[in-house]
Amino acid sequence: MRKLVPITLALLGASALAETPPATIDVSKLPAQARMIDEVVVPVPSEIFGVLDKMGKPRWEEVLRSGKMSMKPMGGAEQTALILGTVIAEGFIAVEAESAEEVKRIGRGVLALSEAIGVKKAVQRRSQSIVEAADAKDWNRVRRELDGAMVDVRDAMTELRSEELSQLVSLGGWLRGTEALTEVVGKSYSKDAAELLHQPVLLKFFDRRISAMAAKRQTSLVQKVKQGLSDIRPLMGHADGDEISEKTVREIGALAGELIKAIGAKGE
């Protein structure tokens, strides 16, 4: 993978993609007209959880932690943004567990956390929709509303010139989703399920974004998360298709779990 960065597309000349696309491209050379878009769309947890559902019947209620996790603003805006991300991810787990009460509790938690970072108005409608859809046990709609809540938070933060906080929301969500994934995979290990942890694009993206953050955002918690990502990165496999062992799944889970604990801890 390293040779692919910076990603290049040499064979994409002026007419290379017209009508019939080339069967292969050289991703090690980049003409100016095929520059990479820096924005990465972070997958929602349900995109990964859905694959696990196809492989078996995970006991999602055992993965659900919403009863134990903090849903209150804590520390500075950076910590609250990270907590908000973990809570939204927990919402996806509650949907998998089909727990209407937990989804509703999470919907209210999302609202309280959003208020603390100044984006309550943007997610108020989503929060209400999450609660209504949970009452109706319309799980697909809850998934859509949770995804939308992430986007609404990001857009509102962009308007407030707080894009960095929105990246922390995404990061918090990714960490909790990853922790949950390791828990499910660890309980019933298979090579295919473990392969879902191979996410180099996202690790590089988060690392890049944290490194580019303003000094005031580089709190000790954010630095701890950055270090955690660096520790996780070599465990997730170098090339697509690399096998991730059961032991490695546990190690990734432990690292993600430590970071989730730090995110939810007072005094961080």
């Binding site: 993609l17 017209a18 491209i25 007209q33 769309v41 392969e195 879902l196 180099p200 298709g241």
Partner: protein
Amino acid sequence: MNYVGITNSTPVKRYLLLVFSVFWAAGACMANIDDALTFALEAADPYVKEGFTVREDYWGGDLPVKSTKAVVHQLFKGNEYWFWMGTDQKTAKISVHIYDSEGRLAEVETWQKAHMAAARIVPKKTGSYYLIVEVEKSPQERTYWSLAYGFR
């Protein structure tokens, strides 16, 4: 707009006009990308009925004719994905193609229509994939585009 007024205006007025122009241009740009997104989502509509979940997030921008953009994206083996591209230009011809991390064409199906193009992939491996978007033909110097995706 009366441009003569700019030359006779005070620095404050000029600044306000500049700010207004920047916001107007930014607003127009977003409107075009939003229009492009509307077509991308219209392309997605039949697939929603087939069980695809469409993400709320999307990519967008503008491109000169015969030039490409590359988007790196994480895909998961076990899912099936559609990528839908839209443009606000009816007579433009756009395309989207999907390559794996080794640079091999990985899509299993594509199509192009007025305002739209799409590509489908069933990833053989979990990992990074490259989405290549192109404006093949367009009456405009730069053409706005938007790319959405869905999975099942």
